[in-house]
């Protein structure tokens, strides 16, 4: 009997190793798997390469993981936030390397990685500083850049409901990077408000099929970055 449910966030991230590539879902606070990130901070893995659209806010979640100096490199499209100086400080001091990627290219690199596609051509960033060092090729009279697919050892994702087979449904714009990251990671770990039995989610409504998901953790009443930041929380 397949049962992908793991008892706690701590158990779910226990085998993340030093030097791992970890994709972390979320666009701003929407879809940010804060409880899994905090469990990863507690767990202690370091020298991580993180793939995430942003760099977190305040001193919680992704910003707290960065602040704890566990991340040696981040692959990211928008590492600036109004209310966090964590990443700017690390970047300026050279402690965290940044690979800046246009947002759509980042999403497609992740999707491609999960779909077994090692590279693809895109028109985004042609003629810009982000094209430097990239192979380019003309198709039908237009220039495109070669971009590589991205894979990861782990993905930390937030959904709304999952069943014990690992089928996932998301909540509104919190879906964002979850589905492609689940595909691209060897071990995709999904925290959800509610874990249900197989058959309780309409198969027509499933967004991420369970084949892409290794572990499901129930986190009822998950916290939001903005609430923690407003309350002045700093983790740990």
């Amino acid at each position: 009997m397949i049962n992908k449910q793991i008892k706690s966030a701590a158990d779910a991230v226990a085998d993340v190793f030093d030097g791992a590539v970890v994709m972390i879902g979320g666009f701003g606070e929407a879809g940010s798997p804060i409880e899994l990130i905090h469990a990863l901070i507690d767990q202690g893995a370091k020298d991580l390469t993180v793939v995430s659209n942003n760099t977190g806010s305040g001193l919680v979640g992704l910003a707290a993981l960065l602040k704890a100096e566990r991340v040696s490199k981040i692959i990211c499209s928008f590492p600036r936030t109004a209310n966090s100086t964590v990443f700017p400080d690390l970047y300026r001091s050279g402690k965290t390397e940044l690979e800046l990627v246009p947002q759509g290219t980042l999403a497609e690199r992740i999707r491609a990685g999960g779909a077994g596609i090692p590279g693809f051509y895109t028109p985004a960033a042609v003629g810009t500083p982000l094209s430097e060092g990239k192979e380019s090729r003309e198709f039908d009279g237009q220039e495109y850049l070669l971009e590589r697919g991205l894979k990861a050892d782990f993905a930390l994702i937030k959904g709304r409901v999952a069943d014990t087979f690992g089928n996932v449904v998301y909540n509104k714009t919190a879906r964002n990077f979850g589905p492609p990251m689940a595909m691209a990671a060897k071990v995709a770990i999904v925290q959800v408000d509610e874990v249900v039995e197989p058959g309780q989610i309409d198969p027509e409504s499933i967004v991420t099929p369970g084949i892409f998901v290794s572990r499901v953790v129930g986190v009822s009443n998950p916290v939001f970055e903005s609430e923690l930041v407003a309350a002045g929380v700093s983790y740990p």
């Binding site: 499209s77 246009p102 947002q103 759509g104 497609e108 810009t128 500083p129 909540n171």
Partner: protein, 220 residues
């Protein structure tokens, strides 16, 4: 000095209202952060536009009432929004397939500089200590069918934003179709900038003096 303290040309709202007149009903539209967002206030009665926000929503509605925001229902500027009846949610790779695949009709963006060839600079000043952050701007300008810029004609310091060639790092090359400023509506053509319309009370010479490249006159 006296010119800068006097209001000449269109206000931000008037610029957005002017641009809104040019969007056909039924268009799928992506609006950037800032002045572009004002466009939604001025869509003429009887027209329906479907707003795309690249973080994963088609059919974005207005901001919710204060205190009614859902942290998992936000736009690309990370502000709380609503979803209209008929809205759809999707993941990021699909969202940018809509953009890159040419399915979005129009994108409206702000600008630091636009060149006479339609190059856009709007993401970085290139300052060495700045934290580089690009978001989806490069994908949008490369993929959306029409890309309009809405911006003040000059910077706060009075420097032209419409220039011969951009000095700031580019967002995209030859990507801008039309520019709406406080002073004029300007098309990017194979021959350079062409004035489509002057704002009320503004004459051609006044705009030319504040533009960093030759302007072609309004076509008869």
């Amino acid at each position: 000095m006296s010119e800068q303290s006097t209001v000449v040309g269109r206000t931000r709202d008037e610029m957005a209202k002017r641009l809104a007149q040019d969007i056909p009903s039924g268009s799928y539209v992506n609006l950037g952060i800032g002045i572009p967002e004002l466009v939604t206030k001025f869509v003429p009665d009887g027209r329906t536009l479907i707003y795309h926000t690249e973080n994963g929503l088609l059919g974005m509605g207005p901001s919710p009432e204060p205190g009614k925001g859902d942290p998992e229902l936000i736009n690309a500027g990370k502000r709380h929004v609503t979803a209209i009846p008929g809205a759809a949610f999707f993941h990021h790779a699909d969202s940018f397939a809509m953009i890159r695949g040419g399915h979005i009709d129009l994108c409206v963006l702000g600008a630091m500089q636009v060149s006479k060839d339609g190059d856009l600079a709007n993401w970085s000043t290139g300052a060495p200590d700045a934290i580089p952050a690009v978001g989806g701007a490069m994908d949008l300008v490369a993929g959306v069918k029409s890309v309009y810029v809405i911006t003040q004609h000059c910077t706060k310091h009075g420097d032209p934003k419409l220039v011969d060639s951009c000095t700031f790092p580019l967002t995209g090359k030859q990507v801008i179709n039309r520019i709406y400023t406080d002073l004029a509506v300007v098309d990017v053509t194979p021959d350079g900038f062409r004035v489509v319309e002057l704002s009320p009370g503004v004459d051609f010479e006044y705009v030319q003096q504040r533009t960093g490249a030759p302007l072609l006159p309004i076509k008869d």
